[in-house]
């Protein structure tokens, strides 16, 4: 034994070390090992009270409740993916939105942010938080599909909406007042100074940046972006905004916040069509626009329900379309 150890000692130690490492690795990999189970050749998902529930039984139970909805979601994903080419801009936007969402979740949920995000993504049919960027990219494609559909159906979608809701871009300069009914001399002087600057021909955006008490919009040259008749502004502000034509500037408008000078940017579709807010508003006011857009594309992709008329009827109902 002594001679054996003298001769092979190093090999024995190395082998023992190797066996221990493999043993530990194997233990680590198998400690949570989940055995499989079959019943009459079918895979069992779980059992309770000696009842085996197979994957097929679970499929039937889930399908009864959410089958149609799941298929509709899958159709939407495929239609969007097959119809809209991913651009570099979409990729970049998706990446930026993803980092912003991740950072918001981290701030809100701390160490558990991945779990919270995964829960939401799972409910949307994704695996976990790693799929966030894929989801955001699909959202970009979805927006593009909507844009295309609206642009191809201006007469039936945009025009009736625009007549009723007067979409436009708007900017403002606010002079905040302690009591709007009785502006102080200082507040009145500020309004006068703004009027003088505008009369001199200084650009509205420059005056807004310099004088507006609405610090949020002042940094954007007073821009409030897209708005329409349904936007939640105080009534006096909303009414005055909707009266303006392209490029027009209003007189001072009194609200609970103080006095506003308003300027309408554009009401032209060619300008507004570049804004995501327009499409968001259109789908908010009529959610069937999106499903109709999907269905129109699905038809061009020759959607085939493989003879299952019941499924076809459910999907058409979900898309709010008739054939």
């Amino acid at each position: 034994m002594k001679d054996f150890l003298k001769k092979y000692g190093v090999i024995v130690i190395a082998t023992t070390f190797f066996v221990c490492i493999i043993g530990y690795f194997a233990y680590d990999k198998t400690k949570d090992y989940l055995p499989s189970k079959k019943q009459d050749g079918a895979d069992v998902v779980f059992s309770i009270n000696n009842q085996n529930i197979t994957a097929d039984a679970l499929f039937d139970d889930m399908y009864k409740a959410i089958g149609d909805k799941t298929i509709v979601q899958e159709i939407e994903k495929i239609v969007i993916s097959e119809s809209i080419v991913i651009t570099d801009k979409m990729k970049e936007d998706a990446k930026n939105i993803t980092s912003s969402v991740l950072s918001n979740f981290q701030n809100q949920y701390g160490a558990k942010y991945q779990d919270e995000l995964s829960k939401i993504l799972r409910s949307l049919g994704y695996n976990d938080y790693n799929d966030l960027e894929a989801y955001m990219l699909l959202s970009q494609q979805r927006n593009e599909l909507m844009k295309q559909y609206v642009n191809n159906n201006i007469d039936t979608i945009y025009k009736p909406y625009a007549e009723e809701n007067k979409p436009r871009t708007m900017s403002h300069i606010l002079v905040k007042c302690v009591d709007s009914a009785n502006p102080t001399d200082e507040e009145k002087a500020k309004m006068k100074q703004i009027d003088e600057e505008l009369a001199k021909g200084t650009a509205f955006s420059d005056v807004a940046t310099k004088f507006s008490d609405d610090t949020g919009s002042a940094v954007q040259g007073g821009s409030l972006g897209f708005m329409d008749a349904k936007t939640q502004f105080v009534p006096e502000f909303l009414e005055a905004s909707l009266k303006l034509n392209d490029g027009e500037t209003s007189e001072w408008v009194k609200t609970q916040f103080g006095f506003h000078k308003l300027q309408c940017g554009t009401t032209k579709f060619d300008d507004l069509k570049e804004m995501d807010e327009l499409y968001n508003q259109l789908t908010t006011l009529d959610e069937t626009i999106f499903t109709k857009a999907i269905w129109e594309k699905a038809k061009t992709l020759n959607i085939d329900f493989m003879g299952n008329d019941e499924l076809k009827a459910s999907v058409l109902k979900a898309f709010n379309v008739t054939e």
């Binding site: 082998t15 066996v19 493999i22 043993g23 690795f25 194997a26 233990y27 990999k29 198998t30 090992y33 989940l34 055995p35 499989s36 189970k37 079918a42 895979d43 069992v44 998902v45 779980f46 059992s47 309770i48 009270n49 009842q51 529930i53 994957a55 097929d56 679970l58 499929f59 139970d61 889930m62 399908y63 009864k64 409740a65 959410i66 799941t70 298929i71 979601q73 899958e74 159709i75 495929i78 239609v79 993916s81 097959e82 779990d115 995964s118 829960k119 799972r122 409910s123 049919g125 994704y126 695996n127 699905a298 992709l301 020759n302 959607i303 085939d304 329900f305 493989m306 499924l311 999907v315």
Partner: protein
């Protein structure tokens, strides 16, 4: 040495084996074709499992437990139908839409899988309480007490003297304008009362009257133990346990264990571990 090496290699091979992944029988059956892509039964199964698999597994398991433990009685049916009728008339024409928006296929589906189900779940908790009454009574230690509370310490001391002289706490409450009526109530270790009162009740006996207790909220309390001997109000004490919120989940957990809830699919196991970990505790 050779044997050891062989055993290690066998373990290594086992480690390389995948976990259980339960699959449906015809995953490649095509349900819908869109352009170049097919939506198969397998795709739909995996998506549904990701979205709501754990919910459906727990829902099916709970139904299996209820079928084994709780009979649907005529009273349950009557109560559930009455609630359905009430909801139907309050929602009016929008009832069918409200049901559909909440994922119910029909009124019958709602009746069976919501209204009757909640009655049966309550009955399951009651059954658990009855079967484990002795242990639960020890754990939650119900007692009958009465107490009065004051914002002024001096008033509390005067009220305590009056109570000590034999006035009932209800009379003391009226005489000294207590913030509560001093009525007798059944409390247990989970009842929402000031921690200092809970602490006093824990060791006090029947007919004990506390000195003035300064609560954690800065108020001044006087507590009377009306009855600490559970044997004297056992039925009432057992019934009162059903108001303990945590007992419904403790009861379900115990029945999952009793009926040997076991999972044979890794994805399902992981999602239940994340969303319903209590049902996996052995």
């Amino acid at each position: 040495m050779k044997k050891l090496l062989l055993a290690t290699c066998a373990l290594l091979l086992l480690a390389g084996c995948g976990d259980a992944h339960a699959k449906i029988k015809s995953p490649n059956d095509v349900l819908v074709k869109v352009g170049k892509t097919s939506i198969t039964k397998g795709n739909v199964y995996e998506t549904m499992k990701t979205q709501a698999g754990s919910y459906h597994v727990i829902s099916l398991s709970t139904k299996a437990i209820l079928d084994a433990e709780v009979e649907v009685t005529e009273d349950m049916k009557k109560e559930a139908n009455a609630t359905l009728e009430q909801l139907r008339s309050s929602y009016g024409d929008g009832f069918a839409t409200a049901l559909s928006n909440n994922g119910y296929l029909s009124e019958e589906d709602f009746l069976n899988n919501s209204l009757l189900l909640s009655k049966r779940l309550s009955a399951l908790t009651d059954k658990y309480i009855k079967e484990n009454a002795e242990d639960l009574l020890k754990q939650y230690s119900p007692k009958k007490i009465a107490y009065v509370s004051f914002s002024e310490e001096e008033t509390a001391h005067l009220a305590q003297l009056a109570a000590k002289d034999g006035q009932s706490l209800q009379d003391v409450a009226t005489a000294f304008k207590s913030e509560n009526a001093g009525n007798e109530q059944l409390v247990n270790t989970t009842t929402t009362i000031d921690a200092m009162i809970q602490s006093y009740i824990k060791t006090a006996s029947t007919n004990d009257l506390s000195e003035v207790i300064t609560g954690t909220d800065g108020k001044f309390y006087i507590v009377k133990i009306v009855e600490a001997d559970i044997e004297k109000f056992k039925e009432e004490a057992i019934t009162s346990l059903s108001s303990i919120a945590e007992l419904s989940s403790i009861s379900e957990k115990s029945f999952y264990k009793k009926y040997n809830f076991s999972i044979f699919d890794r994805d399902t196991y992981n999602s239940i571990k994340a969303e319903y970990p209590q049902y996996l505790e052995k």
